[in-house]
Symmetry: C2
Subunit: 192 residues, 2 copies
């Protein structure tokens, strides 16, 4: 039987997870990116089923009870989660499935999918991360400080992951992620 590979990509806010995942999918259009579910309101231009699956709080809580999420968490008063069915379907079809998720979600995946390849993206330095957060967002000084403090907490957990990739040069980081996945595939073949 064919069985795919679950790949968890996590790292602090501002480290460039989203860009890395987008470029990985450009290189590998055959890979599947999990679409998260959320109870927060759609922002302008966001498409239901593409950017997120949008649910009401009541719907989301029923789905939690019914174990419809591989992982879920609450941030700033809203729920976020990874719907179970599409991920499992893609894996059963033998596909690679990417999850771009936060630390707490990644820890839950570790429980349910111990064979997932878990990759932590590190910033080249804290000052570089600070620059990126400042350039990207129109956040207030207090919000940036809080994000940096949370980033430190998250990076402190990077050793919980199978691989740590520094996102200094995008192309190099992509090559490293690809070579991890190729190694994983070869190791799996050897074990058959």
């Amino acid at each position: 039987m064919n069985f795919g590979q679950l790949i968890v990509i996590t790292g602090p806010s501002g480290v460039g997870k989203g860009t890395l995942v987008r470029l990985l999918l450009e290189r590998h259009p055959e890979w599947y990116l999990s679409v998260s579910a959320t109870t927060r309101a759609p922002r302008e231009g966001e498409v239901d089923g593409k950017d997120y699956y949008f649910f009401s709080k009541e719907q989301f809580e029923i789905m939690i009870q019914a174990e419809k999420f591989l992982e879920w968490a609450e941030y700033a008063g809203n729920y976020y989660g990874t719907p179970r069915t599409p991920v499992e379907e893609q894996l059963h079809q033998g596909n690679y499935v990417l999850l771009e998720i936060e630390l707490l979600g990644a820890r839950q995946i570790q429980q349910t999918f111990p064979h997932a390849v878990k990759i932590f993206i590190l910033p080249p330095s804290m000052s570089e991360l600070e620059d990126r957060l400042r350039k990207r967002a129109k956040d207030s000084e207090a919000v940036i400080e809080r994000r940096l403090e949370r980033a430190k907490e998250e990076i402190a957990a990077s050793g919980e992951f199978d691989w740590q990739i520094v996102n200094d040069n995008l192309e190099t980081a992509l090559d490293e992620i690809e070579s991890i996945l190729v190694t994983t595939r070869n190791q799996k073949s050897e074990n058959l």
Copy 2:
């Protein structure tokens, strides 16, 4: 001309740097471990020239002025540094030289030896690091808390290094460090 390889090993207090370095030297007795200089008093059983080179504060400051250190820093009122001459001699003889140093020293080495292989040792998790600090030391609760806080700050800088190795299983971590050094040697040969 033969030219060796400088290897910098750093990571938070309690992560197991010392054990890793000791076991690396058991596997490779031909490698050279740099002995640090310090102005702190020798502890019982410590041998001058083996555990540390012990200097007075005045001697140490004269050596700083004379640029006798590859890196140096002050911790808790004492100086610590890496004497330049023995390291340079070993490198010129074509040997591998290991430096087990703190973050600030490692950053100074990055300036003077940009081609050093810089390895950051990560704990498998913060709770594991906490366990190790508690088991190892008879430190007070306040000291352990401070060490953990400093560990978080240091781990936040792990992306500044070429490689991040999780010290979960000692043998695995040693194998990973060895394979990094073999890869480095091969890359150097290819560039000749």
